[in-house]
Symmetry: C2
Subunit: 206 residues, 2 copies
């Protein structure tokens, strides 16, 4: 799938078409120049629309960021919850969580950077809502690790700290991943799944 098709798929749930074009344009602009250096006029221009047409869909630049952040965070939470509720052993579910979470951050690294680095620009109410989604993501991974500790498959002295480190390792893929690099998103996901199983002291490994 090309970059263009992937972008369209990523925002498929945003309707109508004009709103989707604005969101796509905003992600690109925020990623290139940062949120504060981007104007609604820049975004409208990139989407081939007038500032007045933008205003029909989004009253402020912050509303655009909020939509982008919400879609990104809900996707992340879905990925991690699906892994938590899977059928396999704790090790299989943790590996699957890491594999899919990493793949998302690699494939959608432009969006992921905006989602991860511009949290501070959200208005207070929106910020609180997004922080809630992040807590839920953290809880999903923590639950898998706790399952593994309970079955004796994992050996984790500090569950909260290890959960934080696992998520942090995956999220930082968005910073360094390049489509021109040596590893595909799937390969990074496999490598990281193996490293994370080591981090939780998975006994059955190798």
């Amino acid at each position: 799938m090309g970059a263009e098709a992937k972008r369209a798929e990523e925002w498929a749930d945003v309707t109508p078409d004009a709103a989707r074009r604005l969101v796509t344009a905003a992600v690109q602009a925020f990623a290139e120049r940062g949120y504060h250096a981007t104007t609604t006029r820049d975004i409208a221009g990139r989407a081939g629309m007038s500032p007045a047409a933008l205003y029909i869909h989004y009253k402020t630049k912050e509303e655009l960021l909020y939509q982008i952040s919400g879609v990104g965070h809900r996707l992340a939470l879905d990925i991690l919850r699906r892994a938590r509720e899977g059928d396999g052993s704790p090790a299989e579910r943790l590996a699957e969580a890491v594999r899919t979470f990493v793949r998302w951050h690699a494939e959608h690294h432009t969006t992921a950077r905006v989602v991860q680095y511009e949290l501070g620009a959200l208005g207070e109410e929106h910020h609180d809502e997004i922080v809630g989604l992040r807590r839920d993501s953290d809880a999903a991974v923590r639950a898998i690790i706790e399952d593994g500790v309970a079955t004796g498959d994992f050996d984790v002295p500090d569950v909260r700290g290890t959960t934080l480190a696992v998520l942090s390792l995956c999220i930082d893929v968005a910073r360094w991943f390049s489509a021109d690099g040596k590893r595909t998103p799937g390969e990074v996901g496999e490598l990281y799944a193996g490293l994370v199983l080591r981090m939780v002291g998975y006994a059955g490994q190798e």
Copy 2:
């Protein structure tokens, strides 16, 4: 040490005093608003100077970013080289590299964010120089891991990938670390040193 004293210490090598004030002001402005949204006028204002006085020390905004990035990257490289050249076993040296590298990213998270996230804003020549320093940092950590593989202390199927993951895990501390959080920089360093020894399959652990 208070935040103010820590900031002064961080840039102690930048002289004269006016240049140091400008660098400190630029770090704060870039961290809050992003590089592209910051003007040299903003920076001069924060430093209590006129734009003309700024111009004596830095001809462009990019020169300020280059100095900040250079100081930050050289410090990181020093930390990792010192660990590589230390006396201990590979496990002790790797733990020390992680401990000190993490502590730096936690204590100086504002600077570290600018250093890590604004690479793309450097001019081509400056960018190439900084990328060279990053390669040297990567090589220092890789050398410790290779030492451990050679002595049989570590079991690492993918040395390059694991080196990348170790550095990435440490660097992302700058994103999430908060001075108001539950863990001190030293505690995060200890936690991460243990997790990294697991990532390299250190046999002697626990």
